[in-house]
Amino acid sequence: MGNFGNKINRFIESFIYDDGYKEVIKGLGNTLKIAILGLLIGIVIGTLIASVRVMPKYKLIPRVLDKICALYVGFFRGTPIVVQLLVGYFVILPLIGLGRISSENVCVVIFGLNSGAYVSEVMRGGINSVDIGQMEAGRALGLSYPTTMMKFVVPQAIKNILPSLGNEFISLIKETSVISFVGAADLYVALNKIGQNNYEPMVPFLFMAICYIILIFLITQLIRVLERVLSKSDRNGGKRNGK
């Protein structure tokens, strides 16, 4: 136990006095930046793809678009994010002559594209889970398809989508731990450095786990608050059975 206390002391020393905290904060910042911007890009792409995929497909153009979107989703769900990062950063960027973009920005884009595929499926599921009767009722009143979608179906779908979207955000945060593959700094890089300097990886990696847990706990609380706000049209105004 004294051994462990010793290790903690050495970690604290290099964390605080050797400016280790600066890199940890930078890594956390990168993680949050990539996850948040990636999710935002993902929501934009996901909305576009989902709206194409739920469209009625009587005509040729929606059918072609649907196939293209299915291909996109298939590619980004069918390959690991590490592969997408490596291919994007070391294959595609040099090929199109943009090899000098910073690796963090590349990560934002790739994570955005990746989460776009997942978010689109989440949204499609959310929209399909709204009772078909809502669409029928809107159309029977003489409202157009887009109006009915925006006024009745999407607001109800958002309530169904939000938990899964929170889930997506959480998994994005965790997936950012692979960005060091393309040389971007994250928690792993910062804490691995401390561990290697001290020849002692135990405490830094324990600390890394705690960092992620706290981060994700905070985000979970945030999502819960959002859900509560959106559930006002439920029975009991969203308060479930006296909870």
Binding site: D131, G133, Q134, E136, A137, G138, R139, A140, L141, G142, L143, S144, T147, K151, F152, P155, Q156, K232, S233, D234, R235
Partner: protein, 321 residues
């Protein structure tokens, strides 16, 4: 223990029975009233409101409607009955193209609704539809449910008029004879009118205190009544009822049927798909009995119910009456 349970059961039975007896008595009275109020001469047979010609509908291989032709005249109350799977609901849903017909035509307001090029939304405004499962918008309050469509469509018309007026104004600057501007109600007026109408309708059925609640807190019967009011607030020319009472418990059925009867007596044109034979007899001015995708028998309620000719009809009526 055993005793108290028995007592409960014994006490419950006469209560329910009593209330049902009362309801039937009330029914008898109302039947006479409605029959007095709605002489069949109210129906204008000169010009059909909806003309159905050779309507066909198939889902893949399955032919659900096979060459149906009938006219619906203003003021008529057409009741569609028949065994399940006979195509009643599909027929009704084809009338406002909730299901696109596979063949034939539906003439409404001089246009063929079955034609995919026709602006179906414009016509659906004038064809109210009431669903079996109510389908109230869960994300809106009762009042918003009733007013959302008239307000949205009113504002859309206002925007169109404003857009056209803009060009007329520009044109008028160069014209000697000024072109008149298109008149349109302001947004405030549209909202006020829709809300006032909705509140009047809610007051009439005594649900005005429910105006600001969400549909999830309403009972099934109340939901169905709100659904009917929502359709009414569009001032439709014809109302389509798709088994309006099938999802309700017996006690609620009365309330909803009363409202429909009220509407009938006010001269609203209706097409009603129902399993309530008593109601069909009482409200209908014409009964369509559908079987296997065709109209097996058609006529006044007394003709169809009392003197059926088609063997399929006789078989069906024997089962339900």
């Amino acid at each position: 223990m055993e005793n108290s349970r028995m007592r409960k059961v014994v006490r419950l039975i006469p209560e329910t029975k009593g209330s049902f007896d009362f309801y039937e008595e009330k029914n008898e009275k109302e039947i006479n009233e409605i029959k007095k109020e709605t002489p069949s001469s109210n129906i204008d047979y000169s010009n059909p409101l909806i003309e159905v010609k050779g309507l066909k509908k198939s889902f893949g291989e399955l032919l659900v409607l096979n060459n149906i032709s009938t006219n619906i005249y203003p003021g008529e109350k057409v009741v569609v009955i028949g065994p399940s799977g006979s195509g009643k609901s599909t027929f009704l849903r084809c009338l406002n193209c909730m299901e696109d017909p596979s063949g034939g035509s539906i003439i409404f307001d001089g246009e063929d609704l079955a034609d995919l090029k026709v602006d179906i939304n414009k016509h659906r405004e004038k064809i109210g539809m009431v669903f079996q499962q109510f389908n109230l918008f869960n994300n809106l309050t009762v009042l918003q449910n009733i007013t959302v469509a008239p307000i949205h469509l009113g504002v859309k018309k206002l925007r169109k008029a404003q857009f056209k007026n803009f060009f007329i104004k520009i044109g008028n600057a160069f014209r000697k004879e000024k072109k008149p501007l298109i008149e349109a109600k302001s947004k405030k007026e549209i909202v006020k009118e829709a809300t006032d109408n909705a509140m009047k309708l809610l007051k009439r059925i005594g649900l005005e205190e429910k105006a600001s609640v969400y549909p999830s807190t309403l009972s099934g019967g109340q939901k169905q009544i709100i659904d009917i009011i929502r359709a009414l607030n569009m001032n439709p020319k014809v109302m389509l009822f798709d088994e309006p009472t099938s999802a309700l418990d017996p006690e609620m059925v009365g309330e909803v049927l009363d409202l429909i009867k009220d509407l009938a007596s006010e001269g609203m044109t209706m097409v009603i798909v129902t399993h309530e034979m008593g109601f069909a007899k009482e409200v209908g001015t014409r009964v369509l009995l559908m079987a296997d995708g065709i109209i097996a028998e058609e006529g006044t309620p007394s003709e169809v119910f009392d003197n059926p000719k088609n063997p399929r009809t006789i078989q069906f009526l024997k089962a339900v009456l």
